[in-house]
Symmetry: C2
Subunit: 475 residues, 2 copies
């Protein structure tokens, strides 16, 4: 701990009091994982207000061999932005770096700092009649830097891609404290390695993202939102394929959930309203958008929807007639996580499979899991159009999550294996963080893990950047 004390002395001497927090109480809110699964102390929380300050802090950390945990809005689900056990480390929170540096309505780009909240970025784009298309449940608190570091997805990936597709340029502080100014704002640039790709989705492993150039898009001028009631995942898939072939990228969202998820929302979220008189096994929420304010979206879809209703692929259907109704339909899907938390939480998974495999994978998981964790309630929902399902396992009625966690290993192993065997992944958008490090070791080929380690060794030889996340420290 001498090293930590020396580091703190140097920190206090080098930076203004606003640039760090040492107080144990103040540090608490930075140290704990959002889900409350991980809570480990940091030597200090650093709060830089400029890229140069980040660079100076990283150099100071390097000098004292102090590991760094880059932190955004701390909304991740795999504890990737909080300290790990038994390690002298500091948190560098980006929350004071929240400037929008520039916006260009002709080039359709925006330069924003890492600590900008996603919703603020969306609002800045909307203010000039543009769309910043990343949208996800935590957009009111997650940081742009975090969404880049985790390659965030969300509810509009189908049309606009994940965060990787939005980023045109990056500014990064590297592990040795050098600043890489890669804030180009070009659609095409084939000049050697596209270095920004290395940092996107790398979960803070290679440096700290201090700013980014992101692309903006024209804003849709009309939207059609529909909820279809269906009997099975196979019918959900059939509906999705038909609508996508008709609408292409105009289909911005295709979300799936089951009667179990809907019931949780109706039971626990005030103001949620049942969409149908009857209950159905599952539901698909579809949203189609157009830049053409006079587009007759419903007229375009109607013949196909009528056919799907007639041949009973779709059992029943509602179409939002107003923005209020649209938000009410979305609440049924977006309220699921909150409702699940209200009943005590769940073991969470985030798989993706080839879209054609979704029905089989859902069947296999549903059938097999009851043997693995008897009495559990399965809450499967998510971004069907991306092949991405959140597979959450809720304890049996009356069993606390903490108690149910005894099944975690078996549940996790069953779900992950089922996804991987279908050609899928055990983490579609949540990333690896601390919580999926073992899964990465288990399911990725040695040649792939070795490549990742080789690159980590090359760029961060002392493994000081977010150690223990993504890659196993023990070799």
């Amino acid at each position: 701990m001498d090293r930590s004390r020396e580091f703190v002395d140097a920190l206090v001497q080098s930076f203004a009091p606003a640039a760090y927090t040492l107080d144990e109480q103040d540090r608490r809110s930075y140290e704990a994982d959002w889900r409350g699964l991980i809570d480990e102390p940091a030597v200090a929380v650093l709060l830089p207000s400029s890229t140069v300050e980040v660079a100076e802090m990283v150099k100071l950390c390097a000098r004292f061999g102090m590991a760094i945990v880059p932190q955004g809005g701390r909304t991740g689900l795999v504890a990737g932005a909080v300290p790990i056990k038994a390690f002298a480390q500091v948190i560098i929170s980006m929350r004071r770096m929240s400037k929008i540096r520039g916006i260009d309505s002709v080039n359709n780009t925006m330069v924003i700092e890492g600590g900008v909240i996603l919703q603020s970025a969306q609002e800045a784009a909307a203010a000039i009649d543009r769309l910043f298309p990343l949208s996800l449940a935590s957009e009111g608190s997650c940081h742009i830097g975090g969404t880049i570091a985790t390659n965030a997805g969300g509810i509009q990936v189908l049309s606009y891609g994940s965060m990787r597709h939005q980023v045109l340029g990056l500014e990064v502080v590297l592990p040795d404290g050098q600043i890489w100014d890669g804030l180009r704002s070009l659609r095409k640039d084939n000049t050697g390695l596209d270095l920004k790709q290395l940092f996107i989705g790398s979960e803070g492993m290679f440096g700290i993202i201090t700013a980014a150039t992101v692309r903006l898009l024209p804003r849709p001028k009309c939207t059609l939102t529909m909820l279809a009631a269906i009997d099975s995942a196979g019918q959900a898939l059939e509906t999705f394929v038909k609508v996508q072939n008709l609408c292409g990228a105009d289909l911005t969202s295709c979300e799936y959930f089951t009667s179990g998820g809907l019931e949780m929302v109706l039971d626990h979220l005030p103001d949620s309203v049942a969409p149908f008189r009857e209950s159905y096994p599952a539901y698909v929420l579809l949203e189609v958008a157009s830049l053409d304010s006079s587009a007759d979206l419903l007229g375009r879809l109607e013949p196909m929807l009528a056919e799907l209703l007639e041949n009973e692929t779709i059992k029943d259907m509602v179409v939002a007639q107003s923005e209020v109704q649209r938000l009410a339909l979305w609440k049924l899907r977006e309220g699921i996580s909150e409702a699940e938390r209200a009943i005590g939480g769940a073991i969470k998974h985030d798989i993706a499979v080839p879209i054609s495999c979704i029905p089989d994978v859902i069947t296999k998981i549903s059938e097999g899991l009851h043997g693995v964790a008897p009495g559990c309630r399965l809450n499967i929902f998510g971004h069907l159009g991306d092949g991405n399902l959140h597979v959450n396992v809720v304890p049996p009625q009356g069993v606390a999550l903490s108690e149910f966690y005894s099944h975690d290993r078996c549940v996790t192993s069953y779900i992950e294996r089922t996804a991987v065997e279908a050609g899928g992944t055990f983490s579609a958008e949540h990333g690896i963080g601390q919580l999926r490090v073992d899964s990465l070791e288990k399911y990725r080929a040695p040649v792939e893990l070795a490549l990742m380690r080789t690159i980590k060794d090359a760029i961060d030889p002392t493994w000081m950047m977010n150690p223990g996340k993504v890659l196993n420290l023990a070799r």
Copy 2:
């Protein structure tokens, strides 16, 4: 040369005769750059027919310290896929690996080998009523592996992105001969580093791409193609911005060319027809597509086009009334390179700038270049919507290109500097290859070059994979 002889002996002992060519005459067509600028000998041309064979060949090369030049369709413009001077190297041509391994119309993906010709990939997608959206002039001969290795662009990037956006998974033979099977076919997969990003656009620096999973899209059901005559690049930009804000991703192409380019085509390509009675300084070719076969694309655009014609942003306009007319309009744009070759070729550049800077950059280049290379004819054309312009400098009438090349250094320096000073790049889609290595050294920051070298050292410690391309060998 002993090493080369020993290598050849081992090659002949290890592989069937169909798997290599040693004959000097047969080798010729693999050794020379498409533009005829570079023509250096290879010790042998290897012609693997399977991924395992590629791996064995790479191991053999590694054993004898033989450098490898991976080669696709050899249609690149920067000599990235042919040997460099004074180096014992072999070419590995992928042309025998041309299988389409699988196609999935529900997941909308296709698994194809590196040697598949782009047009074959397009046709395979079309056969199941899907679109493989990469489209470029050399699509009849370029390989998928090459388009990935160079992150190829083309005429539909505006709507569908460059090759990087089409790739979901890769199979790669690494410099040590290991095979990385990363042929996943998922839209989302955040499990550690997204290794495929490293290989896309790396110009063979890290390994040989033997196969890829690419995404497919629904096929547009109707298209509107228009040619607008304009006075200046500023008006071209204004037209583009207005159409894009109205049509978004439905605007699949926005191409720019000048009267000089059009005249070349009309003079030198048979069957090309002048689109207007008068000549205008410049032209914008716009194509809008829709999945909706009953979409009234012209009706949607008409009020805006009428306004642009009335306020003289657009001077005149033709709309293709048939597929024949559509192809005739495209010929005026796509024939430019061929016509330029017919009059003896040009010094070629491929810049991109923030779209908002296009008019200024065109003005600056047009004004300045005549001082640098007196009498030259400037042929600027390209993908305006991507901010990407091909800036080709044609010798004065009566001067041979070989003679005009004495100006190459000054011309290149002026064009590249102008682009970079505007926040742009000196290579938008062509890459670095052999011909732009010095430019990369000149315009990229030391921290960026050092990062590239660090990663190269880590993955290919002996620099045997395509040495002398992208990064300078001399350090």
